[in-house]
């Protein structure tokens, strides 16, 4: 089993499916296309399950590793593998893909063939991003995801789809180009000061960081920061997100919220922290400040929204502020909480977008004011929405709480001021979500168009059910999730914090230089 290139298989299966659809299936056979796309997604999820069961929890390093030389002259290799940080993200991606495909059956009515091709290609890009252990390869996959997403928003999106698609594409491209600069700077810094070889191999590059002078680290960190912060998105780089979310089709929003944003936070944990430990430490106050602003600001702006999708989008800004806060608490609890919260956010916000999609498909409006009193006509939908909402506002017993709690406890450990400000976000989170819930589901059913609203059908319940189960599972028994992440997270935290001493020395040198 260990000889089987499992990760490669998981990653490229969707792309292979896309090629088959593209070449061998006729446009008119929409049923066959949908069936095939679903089969590919399900198969992909099934073959990714061994990652869950065969994953060695005690191992902090990379597992399921595959390495093939690709462009040897510049040290690029096809090097993939997973550890505790990425394993859950890979599984979340394959699961979300099933949901994304199934929820599009009736929502997408034109150019269906191209749609499913895009969706499957996107899956390959995202999976590749999470498994790549070669920075160059990572960059390639990171960019690859942009293209299908651009088409998903731009072709199958809402009324301002072109604006949103172009904004999404250019904004994130801008960030990732700077990130590429950072990668190259690190690559050459390694050549000069580190191992002395030209390599993008992450495992070799880990541990090089402390040898790079702090001043250069800071520049590289800034480049990484812009690249990842736009993707996360952190305040103040978040404005592409509401537009993209609002215009994207349901599956696009789900994937965007569930997976694509995680590529940013994942990037911080995988690259920025361990590669640039000292710079990461220097940037803690700055990052925490932005995170906390994001938490409170996102929540307040979410409260002011009149469009449900936009509200959820801004709530993402707030939630990802929590994730970033946890990561930059730089201790076991914070980073673990941040990691878990990435998964949680993928599940609950993904589910929220799915739920919004359900009513949008029926009523073709996302304005809160067009709804009201829905709990009377759609009881099942109301219950599903309520559970998802409660998971999103972090009710204990559901997944959001465990993540938020660990993040806050990590932040508190770092400095009680951080936690004191961040808990404001918890209060505000309840406020905007409950207000939304009240305006949509409570009150009188005064809009006659809502009276004919039909409740969730079996398919909709079926694709929401796994997410709901996960919410309860993580909320009540998060151990299997935390256990898988723990060893790797601890290793990263140790790598960052081990560099503390030289950092202070370097800082001393810096100040001395400045005095001169």
């Amino acid at each position: 089993m260990s000889n089987m290139p499992l990760l490669t298989l998981i990653t490229f299966l969707p792309a292979a499916g896309a090629v088959i659809i593209m070449l061998f299936m006729k446009k008119e056979q929409t049923k066959a296309i949908k069936g095939f796309a679903t089969a590919v997604a399900v198969l992909d999820f099934l073959i990714s399950l061994p990652l869950w069961f065969q994953f060695d929890q005690s191992e902090a390093g990379f597992q399921f590793v595959e390495k093939v030389s690709w462009i040897p002259t510049i040290g690029v290799s096809y090097f993939v593998g997973i550890d505790g940080i990425s394993v859950l993200l890979v599984l979340l991606t394959t699961l979300t893909m099933i949901v994304g495909v199934v929820c599009s059956y009736t929502a997408i009515e034109e150019r269906e063939k191209e749609y499913y091709v895009c969706l499957l290609l996107l899956a390959t890009g995202m999976l590749g991003t999470f498994i790549a252990l070669d920075i160059f390869l990572f960059y390639v996959f990171f960019e690859v995801t942009l293209v299908p997403m651009y088409f998903l928003i731009g072709v199958w999106g809402g009324p301002r789809k072109l604006y949103a698609a172009i904004k999404f594409f250019l904004y994130t491209l801008f960030g990732s180009v700077l990130m590429l600069l950072g990668i190259l700077a690190f690559y050459f810094a390694n050549f000069k000061m580190g191992t002395g070889t030209l390599t993008f191999d992450l495992v070799e590059l880990y541990g090089v960081g402390p040898k790079i002078p702090l001043s250069l680290q800071i520049w590289i960190f800034l480049a990484f920061f812009i690249g990842f912060a736009i993707k996360v998105p952190m305040f103040p780089f978040h404005t592409w997100l509401p537009d993209a979310h609002v215009e994207a089709p349901t599956a696009g929003s789900v994937i965007l919220a569930g997976i694509l944003l995680k590529m940013g936070t994942y990037g911080f944990v995988r690259f920025a922290l361990p590669l640039l430990p000292q710079a990461s430490q220097v940037f803690v106050p700055f990052m925490v400040l932005l995170s906390i602003i994001g938490i409170i600001y996102g929540a307040l702006v979410a409260m002011a929204q009149t469009d449900i999708k936009k509200l959820v989008a801004y709530s993402s800004v707030s939630h990802l502020g929590f994730v970033m806060l946890g990561i930059f608490a730089l201790n076991d609890q914070g980073v673990l909480g941040g990691q878990l919260q990435m998964i949680n956010h993928g599940i609950s916000t993904g589910a929220l977008f799915l739920l919004v999609g359900v009513v949008y498909e029926r009523r073709h409006t996302r304005l809160i004011s067009d709804y009201g009193g829905l709990s009377k006509v759609v009881p099942v939908y109301t219950v599903l929405f309520a559970i998802t909402m409660l998971s999103s506002i972090g009710l204990p017993g559901l997944n959001g709480f465990v993540g938020e709690f660990l993040i806050l406890i990590g932040a508190f450990k770092k400095s009680y001021v951080y936690a004191a400000f961040a808990v404001i976000g918890i209060v505000l989170g309840a406020a905007y979500m409950l207000w939304l819930f009240q305006r949509v589901f409570f009150g009188n059913l005064d809009n006659p168009e809502n009276e004919k609203l039909t409740d969730c059908n079996t398919r909709e319940v079926l694709y929401l059910l796994p997410l709901i189960i996960l919410m309860f599972w993580i909320g009540l028994y998060p151990k299997p999730f935390l256990g898988r992440m723990e060893a790797s997270v601890k290793k990263v935290v140790k790598m960052v914090n081990a560099a503390e001493a030289p950092q202070k020395a370097a800082l001393g040198k810096m100040t001395k230089l400045e005095k001169r």
Binding site: Q333, F412, A430, A431
Partner: protein, 673 residues
């Protein structure tokens, strides 16, 4: 039996699953199902309690599973059975079961019947978790869970805007408190490395006074939110929008006392932080007095009871603040009996009046003279009122007297005076309520009169049981004062003065004063006589104003119009909050949204605009200058060809003519050279 504690929350879970998933098929059977589940939980609780009370007692941990584990942080899902949780379990399961039975009758015919009982079972589950948890995290699960159920049940009639508003308000205000609770938990964890009670309390004596006070105050913020103390009490009066059984169970007997339970549970830390204790005592006394004064003039029967609840919770915190933890828990218990009774009684009245116009059903000015029509309700209500007023030997007297005596003997004279005044007010407004509702002439709407009837047995039986408890629930566990059974039973759970520990002097003093027990001498007798005098005085004044001389209230009103208005409008606190907190938040959020759209996004769009404009400029340059040269050549040629193309007429004769002409010209040139 104790190891079966995990069964207690399991039954409500079953109830939630049955009624929640199959509500439509269950229909009106939902009530009995939920009641049976609550009853089964009660049976388990009774079993455990009898073992705790008649058996060895002590404290037992029932581990279930490791819940959250992250690095050095670990919290398990485990239950703790000790005297304190036993008392709480008895109250929760007992009152909870009675309310379930009562609601079967009260909610009859409501379209949301199964939903109601789903929520009610869910509440029982959360409350059990809150009480049973052996660490702060599990307590927090229950804590938030009861908050959620409170939200759902207050907004049960969600079509009413005011109901869903009240639910939302309750949840958000509670969340503010929860934020404090969370921070308190974090601080505990940073200080002791654990959240499990036993481990935390083992480490508690090592805490400095400042840290203990900080922990205590942060946790108290949570308690202030949940137990409706100043300044976060505002949600509780609004919570009366919920169905009356909910008000009885959640907003009087159990959930709102969670804060009291939590502070009592944390007593080992509180005794280390005297500053926090003082704050609690003062907040409690202020709340007790403040809410009681509002209760004096309210006309909505449930609002009076709501303010009364806030006030009584103030009493409990008063007790905790002066170090009389057992007295606080004792009052919690007796209060659960008589306040549950009063709420259910008011529900019975409202039920009888449900043919009256919507806005008159709960308004005491449209009641009166119900005594003869609803004898059971009247007599049980009267017992409850006497009990809360503090007339011996009913329940309220024993616990309230202990609280005031403790305040006095620990030297908190201000607190004691405020408490005594509040007790006087309590007696007054309760009997004002009785006289306005049950005595005098009937002021009920004429159409509704013939529909007034005594409530069905499912409603009156719980009333009678609670009335019995209100009579005997004080004297049996509480006699003799300060040394009753309940003190001996609770003593192992509550903080003791650590012998030779690091407790501060004031803490030692407090604890000795409170736990010493049996203050003998004439002072005690005097205090008891004073307490009785206050209760009787309040009742007498109410009787004077509302039975003997019914013009008296109007005269008072004419005299103190401003004060009356102030009290009726609840000191305008809601308006002040609206103006100072809610509106600024709205403004802030709108402002930020504009900021986001205009500035943050504006910067993004602006940069794209700049790019577009500069690209236009370079485009124009390219077009005009660089490409212009190329195109210029082409257009030059095109211009002249436009002129010369007319030579090509297509007429062959023209061509020939020109040719001839040419030949002629050439020949001429040749010849005439």
């Amino acid at each position: 039996m104790i190891e079966l504690a995990w069964l207690i929350p399991v039954f409500p879970v079953i109830g939630v699953l049955i009624n929640g998933l199959f509500g439509r098929h269950v229909g009106e059977k939902a009530g009995p199902i939920a009641s049976v589940m609550a009853g089964l939980s009660l049976l388990v609780v009774l079993g455990i309690a009898s073992q705790m009370i008649f058996g060895a007692g002590g404290s037992h941990t029932v581990p279930l599973w490791t819940w959250v584990e992250a690095g050095s942080f670990s919290a398990s899902m485990s239950f703790l059975i000790d005297p304190l949780s036993t008392i709480m379990l008895l109250v929760v399961a007992g009152v909870g079961f009675l309310v379930h039975v009562y609601a079967v009758g009260y909610m009859h015919g409501d379209p949301g019947y199964p939903r109601f009982f789903t929520y009610l079972n869910l509440f029982m589950l959360s409350m059990f978790l809150l009480v049973l948890g052996d660490n702060y995290l599990v307590m927090f699960v229950g804590w938030e869970g009861v908050g959620l159920c409170s939200y759902l049940l207050i907004g049960f009639w969600y079509e009413k805007q005011s109901a869903s508003d009240a639910g939302k308000k309750a949840f958000i205000v509670n969340r503010i408190g929860d934020a404090g609770f969370l921070l308190g938990m974090f601080l505990i964890w940073t200080l002791t490395g654990s959240l499990t009670y036993t481990e935390v309390f083992q480490a508690a004596p090592e805490m400095s006074a400042a840290m203990a006070s900080a922990v205590g105050l942060l946790l108290f913020v949570g308690a202030v939110g949940k137990s409706a103390q100043i300044p976060l009490y505002v949600w509780l009066p609004d919570a009366m929008e919920g169905p009356t059984p909910v008000s009885a169970l959640i907003h009087a007997a159990t959930m709102v006392t969670a804060g009291v339970y939590m502070v009592a549970r944390t007593s080992p830390i509180y005794v280390m932080g005297p500053d926090a204790m003082s704050v609690i005592a003062i907040v409690g006394a202020l709340t007790g007095l403040f809410a009681a004064s509002i209760g004096l003039v309210q006309n909505d029967i449930k609002r009076v009871l709501a303010y009364s609840t806030v006030s009584q919770l103030g009493f409990m915190f008063m007790a905790l603040g002066v170090g009389a933890f057992a007295a606080g828990i004792f009052h919690l218990m007796t209060h659960a009996f008589f306040k549950g009774l009063l709420f259910l009684g008011s529900g019975s009245v409202i039920h009888a009046l449900h043919h009256a116009p919507e806005d008159q059903q709960q308004d005491m000015r449209y009641m009166g003279g119900l005594k003869d029509k609803m004898p059971v309700t009247y007599w049980t209500f009267l017992i409850g009122a006497v009990a809360i007023a503090g007339v011996p030997p009913l329940a309220g007297f024993w616990s309230k007297d202990e609280i005031l005596a403790n305040a006095f003997f620990t030297g908190h004279y201000t607190v004691w005076i405020m408490g005594t005044v509040a007790a006087f007010m309590t007696a007054f407004y309760m009997f004002r309520l009785i006289f306005m509702t049950f005595h005098g002439e009937m002021r009920v709407d004429h159409h509704a009169r013939e529909h007034i009837h005594e409530s069905p047995a499912t409603m009156t039986v719980p009333l009678i049981i609670l009335a019995v408890l209100s009579v005997i629930g004080g004297v049996i566990p509480g006699f003799p004062p300060e040394a009753g059974w309940i003190h001996r039973f609770l003593a192992p759970s509550l903080a003791k003065v650590p012998a030779g520990g690091h407790a501060t002097d004031q803490g030692v003093h407090l604890m000795n004063a409170a736990a010493g027990g049996g203050h003998s001498g004439p002072a005690v007798v005097l205090l008891i006589i004073l307490a009785i005098a206050v209760a009787v005085g309040g009742i007498a004044l109410a009787w004077h104003m509302y039975v003997r001389d019914t013009e008296a209230p109007n005269r008072l009103y004419e005299r103190f119009r401003g004060l009356y208005r102030l009290l009726l409008e609840k000191y305008y606190i809601d308006e002040i909050y609206q103006a100072c907190i809610v509106e600024p938040t709205y403004k802030l959020m709108r402002g930020l949204w504009t900021f986001d759209a205009k500035v943050v996004d504006g910067a993004v769009n602006g940069s794209s605009l700049i790019t577009v404009i500069s690209s236009r400029f370079s485009g124009i340059f390219d077009l005009r200058t660089v490409d212009g040269a190329v195109n210029g050549t082409a257009s030059f040629i095109r211009f002249f060809s436009q002129v010369f193309k007319y030579l090509q007429s297509g007429m062959v004769q023209n061509y020939l003519f020109v040719m001839l002409l040419g030949i002629f010209v050439m020949l001429s040139a040749y010849l005439f050279r």
